[in-house]
Symmetry: C2
Subunit: 505 residues, 2 copies
């Protein structure tokens, strides 16, 4: 519930979740639609969140032995055609470069000129161009494993776009690795899935279910796709990251071969894995409330904001100086290995507007400091994970000493709250009737949906028909309990595996 | 001179500078040409140098009040047409997206489909699209200054490409700022030019001349362009960064207006500034020698490499463990605010190949450590800024204690060496005859060219004719001594300003 109707996000989550999402994005000044169809502008506050995500993920990739590199934006049409399922998956939605300049149309305007011999595709993902390059880099078993990541922009010509969640251009990282054996490639695929899970839970405070995608939901060209699936506050699933075991499919289409230790020429085994700016959308829909954005401290561009309260001009200099000094001393503290990110808001504007501005931007800790607080050597503390009215004065000393613990508490509290929410919106389904009961009564457009858990032994056709009838998809077959078998709730086959069903973004 | 003909880069700098450059890039495994025309693949070692550049520059931008954001890759054709000089400058070399999918050609192949109503240009630079977005963001004087930077890829369809120096796609940062007054915009333009100068000199150890470009060399659409110009080891100039005062040109074409404090509607004043992966090329050509790449410690992905020397298998475990422990303790040291970057090379290969591999990669400090060194508690130290044979044993203790000072010495020594080189290749020119004497006798293709300094009061036509006759251009009118006036060496006009003449990349 919104704490203050005047300042609240309207509509509320309950009233209209998709509109609420757009309004949170706007109120926190995260991003906006650009004049270019389907492309977004990521504004400084949204980009700073992405930078924090990048920094943490990049360290995790390097700690697991990966190096960064950069490959071309463009992919020759002939490359993308090499893997049959891959081109099927991406040909329908790609930006095609056909010309290399603009020339006069003879009427004062410009038209495309310098037609290319072969059209170029703006990368929707880079398996084919990187595979082509790797075919030269990989010669012998000594060159393996090859563990590389790229931070880049990609383009998929989406018909329906939604800011951060599905845009024509988006930012992401894509890992592309090559291995000597199938086992090593599978191990890498799961290692990176675990990295994503750890990042989502520990940094984003977003609980996720790790699992295998069904055949129908695999990445085009993959042997097996794994994902992390998160529940948003409307109960829908968001696929938040994927890791693909590509088998030898791309090694064969791109000719990635190596001379084994035994002197045999072998095709290599490859993987790819990625997360994108979609994570920012997931972050928003996991924690934010009817007052605006809520950020976990790990990812907040500002963790503590200091708001000078100036009752009259006589006091301005004193209060400002005190706040600046407090800011400086807080910046010397470390939390989770990084210096604290602290901002003193010296703007000349109404105090209430200022406070509400930072609430909407999701800053975890707010300090209001006026002459009386200074006299008492205390601070007036507000927490974004509590209601805005729940503020308290505490001694400055105590605040400084307990700040790291407070950030820990906020970080883990957000994770716990999201896990509790997911539990409250998840039901075990033991039969087709129970499935129909559960999902049949839900309005997909409402904020009141949820996950269903049940055994599944269906095929892509059955999955397609369920999707058609109920708009529900198998989100994944969770790693946890993946050994269990039970009767499929649709076919009755005893070979069913545990599955998560949900509406999805 | 190469230290060892077997391991040297061939050809040498003197024999064939452009080929030497390509061979250093290859020997250090920095980058390679991709299968996509004019686009390069930046390999891990090259990308790690770029990441170090990015990290340092990004902090400098943030310390001067800028925030990062991200704008679309695509620019509608109509936007780029808005500023007449700007479109003239970029229309001849841009990638044009005309279609949004691939469709069957009915013969088993794919052809472009879904033709766009308006072609999109892949950004060659973002003034027009960012200007369009800014026209909404800027409403009142309270919104100014607007100080934003973007890290991005850009595309210019170059006919002749050379790795890092001129490629169809390259990585860069582009700052775009908006100000209320002309003075503030000029101040920003020069502030960022100073940031570039400081970065080039302090981090790259690359001396640069800061100056104003002549009218003929201005950025298309700018009122004034400033650059930093560096001398490469063949005596040619490399424009290493530019900062543009755009006046009200883009504010007018993009309609960026604000309500002033006095209540008047005014056009704003804008700037833009950028450096790119071209800097990596400049770094290579400033310091490297006939043994391969030479890296200043500030930018080296590995500052100290430890090479275990294993005379026989009995000693392997002991030596490896000692080296790993030394590596760990060195990583606890800080230099210039960052933890030391140390690598222990445990690969199983011939010692000589290993040492030469790291020489070619430009690592500043090499330690060779075998059983005898361990017994003596000493290390065998090689410096990349000295000849490979100049190695010495010193006590481990002394090495650890003096390592930061050693890195300082290498960093400042490289800068000093490059400054001395530039001095030795620069001549004061006091007349047209002296100019003809100096440049007329130089072979532009040789490694023996240099800078000329002289007074200039010419116009774009004169500059064009000098370029045609001598291939020489005015690189810049230096900030240092910019108040001095003297007789132009071509026209005799007493209004000449100091100018730098050179062949250029």
């Amino acid at each position: 519930m919104a704490s203050n109707p005047v300042n609240a996000i309207s509509p509320s989550r309950k009233e209209d979740f998709p509109q609420w999402y757009q309004q949170v994005v706007r109120a926190a000044d995260l991003a906006e639609n650009s004049p270019v169809r389907g492309c977004m502008v990521i504004k400084p506050w949204g980009y700073a969140i992405w930078e924090n995500m990048q920094r943490i993920l990049d360290k995790m990739f390097k700690d697991t032995g990966h190096q960064n590199a950069y490959f071309p934006l463009f992919i020759p049409k002939s490359y993308i055609e090499k893997e049959a399922k891959h081109v099927d998956g991406f040909a329908k939605e790609c930006a095609v470069v056909t010309h290399s300049r603009l020339v006069s149309d003879g009427k004062g305007g410009l038209i495309p000129g310098g037609e290319l011999e072969e059209p170029l595709i703006v990368r929707p993902t880079s398996e084919t161009i990187i595979g082509e390059v790797y075919s030269n880099w990989v010669q012998s078993y000594r060159d393996l494993p090859l563990l590389i990541n790229q931070w880049a922009n990609v383009v998929r010509w989406e018909m329906r776009t939604r800011i951060f969640l599905r845009t024509t251009e988006f930012l992401w990282q894509e890992g592309h690795t090559v291995h000597a054996t199938s086992d090593e490639a599978v191990e890498e695929t799961l290692r990176m899935l675990n990295v994503y899970e750890e990042f989502a839970q520990q940094s984003m405070a977003m609980p996720v279910i790790k699992g295998e995608k069904t055949e129908g939901e695999r990445f085009p060209g993959a042997v097996n796709t794994y994902s992390i699936e998160a529940m948003m506050q409307d109960g829908k699933a968001l696929q938040a990251g994927t890791s693909h075991f590509l088998g030898q499919n791309f090694a064969k289409s791109c000719n990635i071969r190596y001379l084994s230790q035994e002197g045999r020429e072998e095709y290599a085994w490859t993987t790819s894995w990625g997360v994108s700016t979609r994570l920012v959308g997931g972050l928003i829909m996991t924690h934010s409330d009817d007052d605006g954005l809520v950020l976990p401290p790990r990812l907040a561009p500002v963790q503590v904001v200091i708001l000078p309260v100036i009752p009259n001009e006589d006091k301005r200099a004193e209060v400002m100086e005190y706040c600046e000094r407090l800011g400086e001393s807080l910046r010397l503290l470390n939390w989770k290995g990084d210096p604290l990110r602290v901002q003193v808001d010296t703007r000349d504007m109404r105090g209430g507007d200022k406070v509400w501005g930072w609430i909407k931007k999701g800053v975890p800790v707010r300090l209001e400091i006026g002459p009386r607080d200074i006299a008492n050597d205390s601070v007036f503390l507000g927490r974004r994970d509590r209601t805005p009215k729940d503020k308290k004065g505490i001694s400055r000393n105590e605040f400084v000493q307990t700040l790291p613990a407070l950030l820990d508490e906020i970080q883990s509290g957000l994770l716990q709250r999201a896990m509790d929410f997911r539990t409250s919106r998840t039901r075990e389904l033991t039969s087709r009737d129970a499935f129909v009961d559960y999902f049949g009564s839900m309005n997909q457009e409402s904020s009141e949906t949820g996950f269903g858990l049940g055994f599944w032994a269906g095929n892509p056709d059955l999955e397609e028909s369920i999707k058609k009838d109920f708009k529900v998809t198998v989100r994944c077959l969770p790693m946890e309990g993946s050994e269990d078998k039970g009767p499929c709730i649709f076919t009755g086959s005893p070979e069913g595996r545990r599955a998560v069903f949900a509406f999805a973004y």
